[in-house]
Amino acid sequence: MNVEFTVNGTAHTLDVEPNTLLVDVLRSTLGLTGTHVGCDTSQCGACTVHLEGRAVKSCAVLACQVDGGTITTIEGIGTVDDLHPMQEAFRECHALQCGFCTPGMIMSAIDLVERGEAGDEGSVRAGLEGNICRCTGYHNIVRAVLHAAQRM
């Protein structure tokens, strides 16, 4: 079936099978491999993208459900020369170890800050419950989010 949606400002019309996950379209069809698949059971949050500006797990959304929608992935928030404040904060605070969870962490963290729910350490930790870091690098991730919240 045909679906139309906008990803990182570019409109796409794609022919997808109904049983295709959004994350698979992003990665395999559109080549946006910055969005990761960590668990495939909707627990780890590595596949988090923004749908209409809100963080969602793209492994728990079908591509056909987002017909007409607007999606932002990690590739759409900044460039190497012009990082998003959240990316910059992750860099400054060394908020990544292996880096696998980082795209999802950043997409969740941006939504958290934009909703005004990143006021203190406790709310950041609670707000990132849907993202798992297997390196257990949470301490610096939380520091980075609090840091970015001051600048966004």
């Binding site: 909707s42 797990k57 969740s108 939504d111 707000g127």
Partner: protein, 267 residues
């Protein structure tokens, strides 16, 4: 994921027709349970009928002594709603504790309630807040809605359109979340109405239910200590890798006590 047909009807009538026409069709709401289930090949419906294209199923209305939440309203909307926070804060608090932020951005009240997961949060509110479940065919009292494990009073093809919650004088919800999934190992909602106390329990048994024993004790004395004397019957409680039935019985007492304490702090 097995193959299926996908439909996005624009009216409830069309959705019901699609369900009837499908060999083994399922309704799709927020998909936060269903899509991972499909992804794990634990279900193989012939058709998915997405309810997201139907107008009028989403939104929150606050009237006298009543809060009505549309079936397709996302958990995040309920949690962040200034109206709900002002009129029925316990519901905003409960919605904000469901799953994680990403799940709350997609998951819906109707989907949660229709699924009747024994560890879901909303069912505790449906039974304790004297809710009325509105469907395409009738209204169902909240306390009669959940029948068993993943089983509700809904008939095949019947669609929830909204849930109306009665506003209590005071209420509080306390849960012991599974540390990984944030599902309730046990969740207890205590609500004080003019006509008595209602207690809704989720996580403990096959489905959410009202606790007659706790209600009797708290109607006699709305105090934390009143909970301690109640003998929680755990004969039909769930026993799994997360908690034994006996442990869940203890959690019911602890969460009920905390809920009463929180309720009393409201003044």
């Amino acid at each position: 994921m097995y193959r299926f047909n996908y439909h996005r009807p624009t009216s409830l009538e069309e959705a019901e027709q699609r369900l009837d026409a499908g060999e083994d069709a399922l309704f799709l709401a927020g998909g936060q349970t269903l899509i991972p289930t499909l992804n794990l090949r634990l279900a193989s419906p012939s058709d998915l009928i997405d309810l997201a294209g139907i107008d009028g199923l989403s939104g929150i209305d606050v009237a006298d002594e009543m809060v009505r939440v549309g079936a397709m309203t996302r958990h995040a909307e309920v949690a962040a709603s200034a109206d709900v926070q002002a009129s029925l804060p316990v519901l905003a608090d409960l919605a904000g504790q469901i799953g994680d932020a990403q799940v709350r951005n997609r998951g819906t009240l109707g989907g949660s309630v229709a699924n009747s997961d024994p560890a879901a949060d909303y069912p505790a509110a449906v039974v304790a807040l004297d809710a009325t479940v509105h469907t395409t065919r009738r209204t169902i009292p909240g306390a009669e809605f959940f029948l068993s494990l993943f089983e509700t009073a809904l008939q095949p093809g019947e669609i929830i359109t909204a849930v109306e919650f009665r506003v209590p004088k005071r209420a509080a919800y306390q849960k012991f979340p599974n540390p990984a999934s944030r599902y309730a190992v046990v969740g207890v909602l205590v609500a004080e109405f003019d006509d008595g106390v209602r207690v809704g329990i989720t996580g403990a048994a096959a489905c959410a239910y009202r606790s007659d024993d706790l209600e009797t004790a708290l109607n006699a004395s709305l105090a934390p200590d009143a909970v301690d004397a109640v003998d929680i019957d755990y004969d039909r409680f769930n026993s799994d890798l997360h908690a034994s039935a006996e442990y869940r019985a203890n959690l019911v007492r602890v969460m009920a006590r905390r809920a009463v304490e929180a309720l009393l702090r409201e003044g």
